[in-house]
Assembly symmetry: C2
Homo-oligomer: 429 residues x 2
């Protein structure tokens, strides 16, 4: 129904007059909803993410890079003050990463992952050792007066790959189901375990240099045991229990049962991982691994969409929030002066260190350069190191000062910026 | 790949041993994520909602009733302490209602709504006047010593229909696109306007009985002007601008553009409604009304799913949170003693009052009983009246005391419980 322009114009004028009259006469009523400002923030984030993603794609880059840069612009130009510190937006971003790991897990199966298990462990080991060594050297060279613990801590801070950006880039490139993707995702899980072990060891050592040895090794061993125990239980019990559980869910006489049961399973495992001191992402990934197409079969037969299709709108809503938020929190001002040198050295160590991952690929038919490129990005685990490091002291000075903190954040950003281009190059080679 | 039971058992034993060892040795690491407890709450809510919905469906009731009762059990048996007061879960519930109103709006078009406009206004008017009158009588009869303002306030508190439960029930019954649904949704929007006007008038009158007349009428007129102005602008400008906007969005070279642009539009209008003192739901509904199938056409042509399909998983995740939370917050203990009489009288007034809506249906082919039944439920607007009423005083005593508050909450629950059954009966008649 196309109306003539004059009618439309008259309606607009009437609307404006009514709005102005209304605002002059009526003070804001008490019924205004607390959720209003959040809605506007989400609208701004979504619009910025898609515009940034489009610009990046036009320049031949991965959309995720554009989402990050959109966030950097919003944050550093002060376009939307307070967005980076909004606790509810932060929860949406965290939930987004949990769901992304779940979605990534849904794309793989346990047996596929076991097939690349040896490669995954070796890739994680090579990347962790090389990154740690290079980071330690960079810190020693550029911060000669800092305590030994600082060098160890900065080295450890650049070990863990943040698989979110690689997973997203691989998805954008249509390679989410490839052998390389499975090696990378497996290695990222092992990587997180290594990083958490290193954090426990270094943290205990810095806190008590004398009696450290025993505590640290005990903690490290405990963390490894916990992670392996969690994954074993989640995968084995999950594969036994979930097929029957989903068969029961098919019989629930209510709409949306598949998504509800799938999300409840994902959230429970993510919570369980968090409750025993692991990253919730590990649990969400395990939940996705356990669930396979056969779990959705009963629902698909009666005309519903499979679980992965239902989760995908949730991640396309929430994941841009995560990436824009990372960008917003990147403070470019902190990069002035002496930090730039340390930031560059750490970034170079982080990138070169993960190239060693290529050595760990032993699964036939898996491209080493793709794996190495995908292991480059650092993220939330490095930021956890930065935060913990500022709270630990050695001889009365913090292990990580403001300079070190900015350098770690800059390293996260540099590795993240480099990855999509490197990965596209490696895949198209 | 089916493994023998002995392998599985061995893996479980190994997992348990590793977990126990790990927990004995390693203290909880600092990497535990703040989002963990929220994930467990969401998992519990989703599981309870689907179980409750299934039970209700087996008993021939609407699933939404089961979700509410699941919440009542969780809340009143203290099964999950603190859930009803969790601010983040509350945000998820509010976002869920916003998205539900958006989805409901997507199901209708502006021209369809205009066709039922006269019925909608008359239905809202009949229901508001009859409810107010009966509520005022009930209050006068049962609270003879209360000030006149209390009677007016309790009467006004039961005027506004909360369309969420009706919309959900109509959707469950496959009648979301019917003529009755359009009358009801239109009447609910008008209803909210009436209620907000009444709240402004009564509030101003109670605050300053002497000079009240002028202020109150000015406020009332302003509120009506604002709402009409907002809807006119949103619908007219929206219909002019959005087709071009979505044609541009089709050209965005990034995934998930349709959902992102749709949500950004919905959230912006919801925020704008909230910012000028209206309920954000009005804005979300207007956004859904403006968007039609033609907006998704460009995306559907290249193989993507239409917007309504993408929004549906979001609501099936978030809406159960809303209904379970309403149930959790219903305190059955508050119903003891003298409150029960007032609660019953208010509930009866609320239900009988909306039967007058049947008189307002003038659109041919629209079933009067269906419209009347769907107008019964009360919700967030009544709860706003309850909250505002406790903060207003007349002659030094609060307009609404603890008894009145409990009675309003009980009325919300009673009308909500009655609606699905009444609506199913009316539709199948």
């Amino acid at each position: 129904m196309k109306r003539p322009a004059s009618t439309t114009l008259a309606a607009i004028v009437a609307g404006v007059i009514l709005l102005v009259t209304g605002s002059l006469v009526a003070p804001s009523s008490g019924a205004a909803d607390a959720v209003g400002p959040l809605l506007l923030s989400l609208a701004v984030i979504l619009a910025a993410a898609k515009l940034g993603g489009h610009m990046a794609a036009r320049l031949g880059q991965a959309p995720v890079l554009g989402e990050l840069l959109a966030g950097v612009l919003i944050g550093n130009l002060g376009l939307w003050p307070g967005l980076g510190a909004d606790p509810v937006v932060d929860v949406f971003a965290r939930l987004g990463v949990v769901l992304l790991m779940f979605e990534v897990g849904l794309d793989s199966t346990v047996s596929e992952l076991l097939r690349v298990g040896r490669s995954a462990v070796l890739v994680a080991l090579c990347g962790t050792i090389a990154s740690f060594g290079l980071g330690w050297c960079a810190s020693r060279a550029l911060l000669p007066s800092a305590p030994a613990a600082t060098h160890v801590f900065l080295g450890a801070a650049i070990t863990a790959t943040s698989v979110g950006i690689s997973a997203r880039t691989l998805k954008d490139l249509g390679a989410a189901g490839s052998a390389e993707a499975r090696v990378i995702l497996g290695a990222a899980v092992v990587d997180d375990v290594f990083a958490l072990v290193v954090l426990a060891v270094v943290g205990a050592w810095a806190a008590n240099p004398a009696a450290a040895g025993a505590i640290a090794w005990g903690q490290a061993g405990g963390l490894v045991a916990k992670t392996l125990g969690f994954l074993t239980l989640a995968l084995v019990v999950g594969r036994q229990v979930t097929p029957r559980g989903f068969q029961l869910a098919v019989r629930l006489r209510t709409s949306g049962a598949l998504l509800a049961v799938g999300l409840a399973f994902c959230f429970s495992l993510a919570w369980a991982a968090g409750a025993i001191g692991l990253a919730p992402l590990v649990g969400a990934f395990a939940a996705g691994l356990v669930l396979e197409d056969s779990h959705s079969a009963g629902f698909v037969e009666r005309g519903e969409r499979p679980l992965a299709d239902l989760v995908s709108p949730l991640t396309s809503f929430l994941i841009p929030v995560f990436f824009v938020l990372i960008g917003i929190r990147t403070d470019l001002h902190a990069l002035g002066g002496g930090v730039l040198g340390l930031a560059s050295a750490l970034s170079a160590a982080a990138i070169l260190g993960k190239l060693a991952c290529a050595l760990g690929v032993v699964t036939p038919g898996t491209r080493r350069t793709v794996v190495a490129a995908a292991m480059i990005p650092r993220g939330e685990v490095s930021l956890i190191f930065a935060a913990v490091g500022t709270s630990l002291t050695a001889g009365g000075v913090p292990l990580i000062d403001a300079q070190g903190y900015s350098a770690i954040v800059a390293m996260v950003f540099a590795t993240t910026l480099v990855t999509p281009a490197a990965l596209r190059w490696a895949i198209r080679r």
